[in-house]
């Protein structure tokens, strides 16, 4: 296709001169940069050297702190011992040991998985938590027989217990328990996020939070500026991976009639990303913080 170029006769020579000037200009700025470089390289080296010193110092401080902490832990364990050295009757000594063992067994529940022997077999207790917040516990009562079977349990019906048992219970009981742990912890975590959203951020929701029992499909509408004139966003979070506490699919849509302005469209897109990356209640916490310094120019 022929390109129209009204400037052609003169244009060619103008193009030539202008292009030449441009080339001279870039050459000049390049040579300027090159002469500046050795100096900036030296400055960079100096700065990196100082940084290395600082980091080495920090590393030594941290190592000393670790050693100090290890020593203090050993010391505090050693401090408990002298009490036993005091004269006590055999009975008291045994009772003390029993209390110790009971305490250790109790502490095991903080690993998430603990158990106790029963007349038939073992009762395993699965404790769930989300980011340090201890949540519900569930139990599975196993009968030691061939084949191993579950006598009864408190696992919710929507957790695929039968599937996991069919895969692992007979061949690898450890894997069975840890796999069940994964599902239950993930469910607990999702439930916790949804509960926190409902209780702490009700002000930002413009309608009820819709959720299924498994808490892997959430749907809600929200507004960043509750009193404002803008239309709310509608979010749908799907957690396809039942062992995860972050959603796999997120869609945020706009409920208004008009098309979104660019700034609102950017917000909508950024919200979609945020919901995929951070726990639900933490995303809303950041909304609430930003809301305190809301830029009114965003409100159309």
């Amino acid at each position: 296709m022929e390109q129209a170029n009204p400037l052609r006769p003169d244009g060619e020579s103008k193009g030539g001169v202008l292009a030449h000037l441009e080339r001279l200009e870039t050459q000049m700025s390049k040579s300027r940069k090159q002469s500046e470089e050795p100096q900036s390289v030296q400055a960079q080296e100096g700065a990196l050297g100082t940084k290395i010193h600082k980091l080495r110092h920090l590393r030594d401080e941290l190592r000393a702190a670790v050693r100090h902490r290890q020593a203090s832990v050993k010391a505090s364990i050693a401090n408990v011992e002298p009490n036993l050295a005091v004269e006590m009757s055999e009975q008291e000594v045994l009772e003390e040991k029993l209390e110790n063992v009971k305490a250790v067994l109790q502490a095991y529940r903080f690993t998430g998985l603990s158990g106790k022997l029963t007349s038939r077999g073992v009762c395993v207790c699965i404790n769930t938590a989300f980011e340090g917040n201890l949540l519900d516990s569930y139990f599975v009562d196993l009968v030691i027989q061939k084949p191993l079977r579950i006598h009864h349990h408190s696992v919710p019906v929507f957790i695929p217990l039968e599937e996991i048992a069919a895969k692992y219970l007979q061949t690898n009981i450890q894997h069975f328990l840890f796999s069940l742990c994964e599902y239950l912890n993930a469910y607990s975590g999702r439930k916790y996020q949804a509960d926190r959203l409902q209780s702490d951020f009700a002000a930002l929701l413009t309608g009820p939070l819709q959720r299924n029992p498994l808490c892997n499909l959430l749907s809600f509408t929200y507004k960043l500026d509750p009193g404002g004139q803008s239309f709310p966003f509608c979010a749908r979070l799907l957690y396809k991976d039942l062992t995860a506490t972050l959603p796999t699919d997120v869609t945020v849509t706009y409920q208004g009639v008009d098309a979104l302005s660019t700034s609102w469209e950017e917000q909508r897109a950024s919200h979609e990303t945020l919901f995929c990356m951070k726990p639900l209640h933490q995303v809303f916490a950041s909304f609430a913080r930003k809301g305190e310094k809301l830029d009114m120019s965003l409100v159309s």
């Binding site: 832990v73 903080f110 998430g112 938590a129 989300f130 980011e131 340090g132 917040n133 840890f178």
Partner: protein, 176 residues
């Protein structure tokens, strides 16, 4: 085996309806030499005070760690002259050499990664070392595409069979 020291504090608040507990402090001390692959995960667990995730993911990590160790040991014993473990028995990588074709090396790096959610999964990569002359002769760009093809092979054969086939292919030249 992995050894560590754990210190944590739990705050229990009893209000009218329920008892709520939260971990308020978590300190995990693990020797850096023990498992350098774990250090990032350990800091993340400490930051989030996620005591339970620490134990759960640690269990799966150790399972994969032991499996990697066993697999590498198996191949080292089966093909002692071709297979080398660069950093000892717990090495994360394995080097395959052929005595008859010096200059050719296949390095398989098997990392065990723990993602944001505490999920543990293996990540294997193939690195190739070939003499310059061989690169020039390689018209089909087999060397260039090797890392990607390795990933595909893993998906088809699984870890053990993929490793076995690579070792056998490099040794094949030896037996003519």
């Amino acid at each position: 085996m992995v050894t560590f020291q754990l210190e944590f504090q739990i705050l229990e608040i009893q209000n009218k309806e329920r008892l709520s507990s939260a971990v308020t402090d978590l300190n995990i001390i693990m020797e850096p030499t023990e498992c350098s692959e774990l250090s990032e995960f350990v800091s993340r667990a400490e930051e989030r005070k996620d005591l339970f995730m620490f134990f759960r993911s640690l269990h799966f990590f150790v399972e994969w760690f032991e499996y990697r160790k066993r697999t590498f040991k198996h191949f080292k014993e089966k093909y002692p002259d071709a297979v080398h473990l660069s950093e000892g028995p717990s090495s994360p990588s394995i080097v395959i050499r052929s005595a008859s074709q010096p200059g050719f090396e296949l390095v398989i790096v098997w990392r065990i990664q723990i993602d944001e959610d505490g999920k543990v999964f293996p990540k294997l990569d193939l690195l190739t070392k070939v003499p310059q002359r061989a690169l020039e002769l390689d018209k089909n760009r087999a060397i260039e595409t090797a890392p990607l093809s390795f990933r595909t092979l893993l998906g088809v054969l699984g870890i053990e069979a993929a490793l076995e086939s690579l070792i056998k292919s490099l040794r094949a030249e030896q037996n003519g």
